[in-house]
């Protein structure tokens, strides 16, 4: 027998709130660290280094921080890192598209491997597709 709709609704809301606060807790330290980097000269230095890479997709060098963090870890870490950078709408759209294609690669590649799909090719495809789409968008937007 199914539980009542009210009970299920409460279960859902509790789960939702727990996830939301979990996400906020993940974002907080990342936002803090990137803000501190921004205050220090370190961000400009990192930005200079990553300029050739992110310049391909029309973004500032420092956007490599959320892109790499998001690709290796997850989207919420990436969003936490995007907060202090104060990106424009165009930059946010480009970076969001790239991150939506290429994120959480360690965990998700393990899942893909479990599905018996060609994970090495798919891993490469995701990273290349992210840059290709970023390039197209930087050119079109």
């Amino acid at each position: 027998m199914h539980p009542t709709i009210t009970a299920s609704l409460w279960t859902g809301i509790r789960k939702g709130l727990r996830s939301s606060f979990g996400i906020i807790r993940v974002m907080l330290p990342v936002t803090l660290v990137v803000t501190l980097l921004k205050i220090s000269p370190a961000l400009d230095w990192l930005s200079e280094i990553c300029k050739p890479l992110m310049g391909l997709v029309g973004l500032r060098g420092e956007t490599a921080i959320p892109f790499i963090l998001g690709s290796v870890l997850n989207l919420y870490v990436a969003i936490g890192a995007m907060i202090p950078l104060a990106l424009s709408a165009k930059e946010t759209t480009i970076l969001a598209t790239m991150l939506l294609i290429s994120h959480n690669l360690i965990v998700e590649t393990a899942v893909i491997r479990g599905m018996d799909a060609p994970w090495v090719w798919l891993l490469l495809l995701r990273i290349l597709a992210a840059f290709f789409m970023g390039f197209m968008l930087s050119w079109m937007l």
Binding site: G16, L17, K38, L87, T93, A96, T97, A117, L137
Partner: protein, 156 residues
């Protein structure tokens, strides 16, 4: 006496703090209802009723009806859930290699379409662009791949 923290620094800290609070509020407003609805979908098996129309939607992929479940679950809930459904099918011996490959490729390129898309839209990305660029690219890859792969033995 000078302020302990230079004004430029405190301005930066404040700006980050406000942006963080704003995004946190959005996460609460977006993620909580989505998880709630997903939980209801799961408890009441509402997805099962949508399966026949969804199978028609993915007709062009030429995959088995059972595989459409894994795909739809992955597209809505995320790759871990879709992968979980695929594992169950694999263990029961129902999954064929062609379906596994197509769904693996599709889900690795796009999944968790609702939550991830809305969160990025909330922080200022263009919703239509981020949604359609990703799904469009995945559909294109799958269209090509599903035509290249020979169709497996006909089951249903």
């Amino acid at each position: 006496m000078d302020a302990l923290i230079p004004p430029a620094v405190s301005a930066e800290l404040l700006r980050s703090l406000f942006a963080f609070l704003k995004v946190s509020g959005m996460v609460l407003l977006i993620v909580t209802p989505i998880i709630t609805v997903m939980e209801l979908l799961r408890i009441y098996h509402w997805l099962d009723r949508l399966l026949t129309p969804l199978h028609h939607l993915f007709y062009w992929m030429r995959i088995r009806k059972e595989s459409v479940v894994a795909l739809v679950v992955g597209l809505i809930f995320g790759i871990a859930y879709g992968g979980g459904v695929m594992m169950e099918e694999k263990n029961s011996g129902a999954l064929n290699k062609r379906d596994a490959l197509l769904i693996g490729v599709f889900l690795s390129l796009c999944h968790a379409l609702i939550e991830d898309t809305l969160i990025f839209a909330a922080i200022g990305a263009d919703l239509l662009i981020i949604l359609f660029v990703r799904t469009g690219f995945a559909v294109l890859v799958i269209l090509i791949l599903s035509r290249l792969l020979p169709r497996g033995p006909k089951i249903s």
